[in-house]
Amino acid sequence: MLNIEHLSVAVGDKQILTDINLHIGYGEVHVLFGPNGTGKSTLISTIMGFENYKVLEGKIVFKGQDITRASCDERARLGIGVMIQRPPTIRGLSLRKMVEICGATSKEAESMAAWMGMTDFLDRSVNEGFSGGELKRSELLQLMAQKPELLLLDEPESGVDVENIALVGRAANYILQHVDCRQDKKCGTSCCGHKADCPKNNPLAESGHSGLIITHLGHILKYVPASHAHILYNGRMTCPKGDPLEVLQCISRMGYEHCAGAACARKG
């Protein structure tokens, strides 16, 4: 679904990412570990196409289409959705309107908000005065409506209290696995869109959706079936085929440097 080849990115005059290669197949969820300031958010912002992230070299191909120079909204319309760490406040635009802009009908907006515990926020300005956890729920609510095929999450657990981590995880999982029956033509099975009734199905395989998730603590892994892990260290990608839980354990025991280097190479 997503192929990143030899990508180097600068912000302003400073090069942040060097020669990044990343291949995310249909139905795969990749986790990205790495110390603060190493360029994880830069990678996600570059995939989304935000301004100020200058591609120096390499290319980004999404569903077979080179989107390296595509604008942010083109990428969104092609099926990429992002949750950034610090979304801005949009004063005077209600969350309800925003969810509808993302693609939900007014009825869907209501039920999705109820599910996310955000009903009381629907008529407030987007993100205005939201707490850390409320911001995450607001973002996920918008993404539920947007129904991206490639979900980019930048630290979905940060600032979220213990009780709400499960909700955030389930919401991410829902977005990844939920087949949009209105749009998706391959949606032919009887349990389409109601994965709970179909225990034998691999829901992710059916939805074909993919994800890239930045996480420090890995709580989200309890809820989302991540298949691959990477460590971004000093602007370079390592561990191309790491198992998410193993890599997480390695990092907590030995630190990023060790795992990104020797431990990773051994797995080869």
């Binding site: 935000f50 942010c72 801005p88 949009i90 635009l93 947007q146």
Partner: protein
């Protein structure tokens, strides 16, 4: 007020705004139009834009003044309010004159108030009886049809105890009027537990200068909500409406929405004086410059214990021309008052545009959405049709600008 003192005040410059030479304008009381039907098509369109519905559907009463002559003053049957020309009311109700006329606005405030006090009295007088809650808005329109007109207006609005009224005051000038001066003195008296919503929408000619002078007195438990909307080019407007909260539990909220195109100068302020304990006020202004000049003055004065007021002034620059200046002032005169202000002036944050684009909006849509949201103050008392009209105007304006 002694006539002599007022004569002297004719030379008195206003505290703010460019000094206007009133002698250059045609001060007459002539009747230039016989009926609303005589209005030009563009004039009628402008009235609609400022919220005046000449069909008078969903309106409790209608007042129209053209230049310095009353054209219309009709109250729907069985509506418990009095509406008439202020000059006529002064003859009819000398006791009310004694009690209210020029009690809120000092006639020697400046040359504009002085000339209005000295010359033949025009404008609307509105009196709502105690306990009367008027369901539909009263619409009052002051229109300028004559080139180089000096228009004088003295409005007196009295809400007796427990009454409620929603006024839509639309002011505009004919397309044909290039130059003119509008002087609008408004004195409003919100009685005990009464509630007044006053929405003023301006749509003036390119070279018209405007000097409103508004003071509202609010008694115990009374509520005053003022909405001011000006989104069209006006050469020079200067106003600094003041609300004095004089009874316990009195509340005021002043909202302003300003859009200044190139060639406009808008010096629009708002002042709330909290004179007794237990009063609250909020002043909220949203300004956009698309090349024009905006000065936002704001003043909260807390004269008493246990008061609370907030001043909020946000400006958005959509052009490299023009400017927005925010001048907030807070005066606390007791140890137990809570006054706050929040001012921010700038361009649209690129992160906001990018954020909306990441949800699938084009750059133009994202910008328009942010601007609409920015101007979306919660305007209470505004009929839905009018609220929609403002949004439509904004949309049209954005399309014109290619935003």
């Amino acid at each position: 007020m002694e006539k002599n003192n007022l004569q002297a005040a004719l030379q008195k410059q206003a505290a703010f705004g460019a000094d206007l030479d009133l002698k250059k304008f045609d001060d007459n009381n002539d009747v230039h139009l016989q009926s609303a039907e005589d209005l030009s098509a563009s004039g009628k369109a402008k009235l609609e834009k400022v919220g005046i519905d000449l069909q008078e559907s969903n309106r409790s009463a209608t007042f129209v003044q053209v230049d310095n002559a009353q054209l219309k003053s009709d109250v729907k049957p069985e509506t418990p309010l009095t509406l008439m020309n202020t000059g006529l009311a002064a003859q009819k109700y000398p006791d009310l004159v004694e009690k209210y006329w020029w009690h809120a606005v000092k006639p020697d405030t400046d040359k504009y108030t002085a000339i209005t006090a000295l010359e033949k009295e025009n404008g609307y007088f509105i009196h709502v009886r105690a306990g009367a809650k008027i369901a539909f808005p009263l619409q009052a329109c002051v229109f300028m049809s004559h080139e180089e007109q000096l228009q004088r207006v003295h409005n007196v609005v009295i809400l007796e105890e427990g009454s409620e009224l929603n006024i839509i005051s639309g002011c505009a000038s004919d397309e044909a009027v290039e130059h003119g001066v509008h002087l609008g003195i408004s004195e409003m008296f919100v009685g005990k537990n009464a509630k007044l919503s006053f929405t003023m929408i301006h749509n003036w000619g390119h070279n018209v200068a405007v000097r409103p002078r508004t003071v509202t007195l609010v008694a115990e438990g009374g509520t005053y909500i003022s909405n001011y909307v000006c989104m069209e080019k006006v050469k020079d407007i200067q106003m600094y409406p003041t609300v004095r909260l004089q009874g316990k539990g009195a509340v005021a909220r002043l909202n302003s929405v300003l859009v200044a195109p190139p060639g406009s100068h808008m010096d629009v302020g708002g002042k709330a004086v909290l004179e007794v304990p237990g009063t609250r006020a909020e002043i909220v202004t949203r300004s956009i410059s698309t090349g024009g000049e905006i000065i936002n003055r704001g003043n909260l004065t807390g004269d008493a214990e246990n008061i609370k007021a907030h001043l909020e002034c946000h400006g958005l620059m959509l052009s490299n021309e023009g400017y927005i200046r925010a001048i907030p002032e807070l005066f606390a005169e007791t140890g137990n008052s809570e006054l706050s202000h929040e001012a921010a002036v700038g361009r649209i944050a690129p992160e906001e545009i990018q954020y909306l684009m990441a949800r699938g909006m084009s750059e133009e849509e994202a910008t328009a959405t942010i601007v609409r949201g920015f101007l979306n103050v919660n305007i209470e008392g505004l009929p839905a049709t009018l609220s929609k009209k403002i949004t439509d105007t904004l949309d049209a304006f954005q399309m014109n600008k290619g935003m």
